[in-house]
Symmetry: C2
Subunit: 371 residues, 2 copies
C-alpha cells in the first residue's frame, strides 16, 4: 500500500468533473490557447523515473511551453517504457554512467531531478556542471549546507536552479496571497499548518535516513513550513519543536514520525504546525488575520484544493498542478519571468534552514533563533 | 466594547430559531418535563453580580432542579435590582460584610462564586467555612496551590466543590466523548484547540494581573487545556509553550496576550493549542484519530456549538449551557450523581497544574514534565 500516493491522489481523482468527456477533451478545454504559443518550448529531461517523475511527465502532456524530451534512469526497462509512452528519442536517453555527456546535447534545456532526497545534491550539481538548467523536487536537499552548495554550483555554472514548489502556482493559494498583499486581510496574526498521512511500506526510501534525510518533516512537514512563509509573507525569526515517536520499529533513529513545530515572525505573527507520518489525511492550512481569515483543506494535495476565506468560498479553477508549474517554469527559465512566490534555489535553502532549526529544536529542547 | 461578551454571545443569539415563539414558549419546549420533577430544588446564591452572574441567573429561570434564591454583592444597588428581577427575599441577600452569617440560613444550599479569578480562593473557602456547597467559576484559582487549598478547605468543611465547566454537559461535546470511549474513533492521535478573541477595554479586571492571575490563558486558553483533556481522555505528561506579546501597553507584565502551547500524552497523542486576546473569534477544536475525526467550531462559546465528525454533522440540540449545567449540578450535589466528565475541585486543580506548567515553560523556555 502506498498511502502517500493514495492521499495525494484521492482528491485529484475528482477532477474528472465531466464524466462524458475523454481525457483528451478535458485537455482541450484546459489548453484552449495552447496553440496560441509558438515560441520555443522548454525541453525537459526527467531524472528519476519513479511515481512522481511519471506524474510530472503525464502532466506535461498538457503543457503549452514545457515538453518532455529526455530521460535519465539507472533502469534500462524504465527507459524503454518511457520512450514508447512519451515518444522520447534514443539520443535523449541517459543512464547515470552516460549522464555527463548530456552537456553535448543541444536539444535538452533542463533536467528535472525527481530522485530520492539524498541524491538531489549530487545530481543537481552534476546537471549544472553539464551546463543544464535544473529543476529539483522538494525538499531541495538534506540540509541548508547542501542546498547552498547547490545554489553556488548553479550560479558558477550560469544555469538556473528551481525547486518543484507546485503550490506557488496554485490559483486558490495565489488568491489568498493576493488578498494578504492587497491588505484585504489586515494584519496577519496566525498560521496553522497540519501536514500528514499514514505512511505504508516500511522499506520505502522515504523511511531511510540516508535517502530521505529525515522523516515526515522532509517529505510533508515542508508544506507547512513553506506554507507558513508564503501565507504570512514574512521569514520566521524563531522556531520551537517537539518530536514524538510511538513506533520506533518503523521510524528508525533520524527518521521523524511526528513533529509539532512553532514559528515566530518579526511582526508578532505566529505559526503552529504538525508534521506526521502516523495520521490519516491531514492537509489543512488556516490563516487568521485582523480583518478576516483563509483556510484550505486539502491545502497541498494534488488537488483540487478546496478552501474559503472570510469573503466566501474560493472558486478558482483546478488545473493539474504540475502542468501549470512546468509552463510557469518555462516562462521563468526562457523569459526570466518573475513568479509571485519565488521558486528558486534560495527559496529552497530558506526552507532547509528552518528544517535544520526544527531538528535542532527537537534534539536540544531549545528555542532556536533564525537569522 | 466588551468583545468577550460579543464573542460568546454571538452564536447564542441564533438559538432564536423560532422567531414566532416567545422566550417563554421556547422554555416550555425545552423544559417539557420540568413539572415531572417534584423533589427538593438546589437553592443557589450567586456571589458576584456581574455579566456572567446575570447569565447564570437568567439561565436558571429554565432549570428543573436549580433555583436562584440568594445573592452576595458589594453593591447595594445591584442587590435591589436583582431582588426585583429574580424575586429574591431580603433575608437571602448578603454583602461581603454580612456574608459569614449565611451559615445560619437554612434556605441556601450552595454559593456560586462568579467574582474575578483573584477572589475565588478566599470566597470559596469562606463559603465552605459557612457550611455551604460551592460552585466556582473557571479558572478555579490563580494557580494549583490555591486550588488545592480550596479543595482541602471544602473537604474539611464537608461541602462539595464544583467548577463551572459548562462544556462538560454540552451534548455535541458529550457525543464526541462517547464516540471516543466506545472506540468509534480508534486510537486518539492529535488535538488542536484554538481559543481567542480580541479583548476590548484595557481597564477591565481580566487585564489586571492581581485579579485575573494572568491573561488570555486563564480566561480562554483554559478551554483548550480542558478540551484537550476531555477530548483525548488522558492527562498530559509534558508541556511546552511560547509567549508572544505585540502590545505591552495593553498587556502588562504577567498578563499574557498570546501563548502557543503543546501537550504530550502517555499514549503518544499530542496537542497543539493557541490562546490569545488579540485575534478575532478563534474557537475551534479538532480531534484526529486512527479511525476518524471530530471538529467543533464554535467549540466552547455559549452556543449553539456546531460540529461534525467523520460520521457526519453533529445534530444534538442546543440547550442553554448554564441551564443544563445547573440542573446537572443539582443532581451531583443533591443525589451524588456522577457526571460523565468530572466537574469537581480536583478537576479544576488538574487544569491549574497545566496552567502553572505553561507559564513555567514560557518563562524558562523548557519542556515541563507533569506528574
Amino acid at each position: 500500500m502506498n498511502s502517500r500516493r493514495d492521499f495525494l491522489q484521492k482528491l485529484a481523482a475528482s477532477v474528472i468533473a465531466f464524466p462524458m468527456l475523454s481525457t483528451e477533451a478535458i485537455s482541450c478545454i484546459e489548453n484552449a490557447d495552447k496553440k496560441n504559443y509558438d515560441g520555443p518550448p522548454l525541453r525537459v529531461a526527467i531524472m528519476g523515473l519513479g511515481s512522481y517523475g511519471t506524474r510530472v511527465a503525464d502532466a506535461m502532456r498538457d503543457c503549452k511551453r514545457a515538453r518532455l524530451v529526455g530521460v535519465v534512469s539507472g533502469t534500462p526497462a524504465k527507459i524503454t517504457n518511457w520512450q514508447s509512452k512519451y515518444n522520447i528519442p534514443e539520443k535523449n536517453c541517459y543512464s547515470y554512467e552516460t549522464f555527463d555527456t548530456i552537456k553535448d546535447n543541444p536539444d535538452i534545456d533542463v533536467v528535472y531531478v525527481t530522485t530520492p532526497n539524498g541524491l538531489h545534491h549530487d545530481n543537481v550539481i552534476r546537471a549544472a556542471k553539464a551546463g543544464k538548467h535544473v529543476i529539483c523536487e522538494k525538499p531541495m536537499a538534506l540540509n541548508a549546507k547542501e542546498g547552498q552548495e547547490m545554489v553556488d554550483a548553479c550560479k558558477k555554472a550560469n544555469v538556473k536552479l528551481l525547486v518543484g514548489y507546485r503550490m506557488h502556482f496554485e490559483p486558490k493559494t495565489l488568491e489568498i496571497i493576493r488578498m494578504r498583499k492587497d491588505g484585504e486581510l489586515g494584519k496577519i496574526l496566525f498560521f496553522q499548518g497540519l501536514s500528514g498521512f499514514t505512511i505504508g511500506d516500511p522499506t520505502q526510501w522515504r523511511l531511510n535516513k540516508a535517502l530521505a534525510g529525515g522523516g515526515s518533516l522532509m517529505d510533508i512537514g515542508i508544506y507547512s513550513i513553506n506554507g507558513a512563509r508564503y501565507m504570512i509573507g514574512e521569514e520566521p525569526v524563531w522556531v520551537t519543536a517537539e518530536e514524538t515517536k510511538t513506533n520506533p520499529q518503523k521510524f528508525k533513529p533520524g527518521v521523524d514520525e511526528t513533529i509539532q513545530f512553532q514559528l515566530g515572525f518579526p511582526s508578532g505573527a505566529v505559526a503552529s504546525c504538525l508534521s506526521t507520518y502516523s495520521m490519516n489525511n491531514l492537509d489543512r492550512f488556516f490563516l487568521n488575520a485582523e480583518k478576516g481569515f483563509a483556510e484550505l483543506q486539502p491545502a497541498t494535495g494534488y488537488g483540487p484544493i478546496k478552501g474559503r476565506t472570510s469573503k466566501g468560498e474560493l472558486t478558482q479553477p483546478h488545473i493539474t498542478h504540475q502542468t501549470v508549474q512546468m509552463d510557469e517554469m518555462a516562462g521563468i527559465i526562457l523569459d526570466g519571468k518573475q513568479p509571485i512566490v519565488p521558486v528558486d534555489g534560495e527559496e529552497g535553502v530558506r526552507d532547509l534552514k528552518i528544517i535544520d532549526a526544527i531538528y535542532q529544536a527537537c534534539s536540544t529542547g531549545k528555542k532556536i533563533a533564525l537569522k
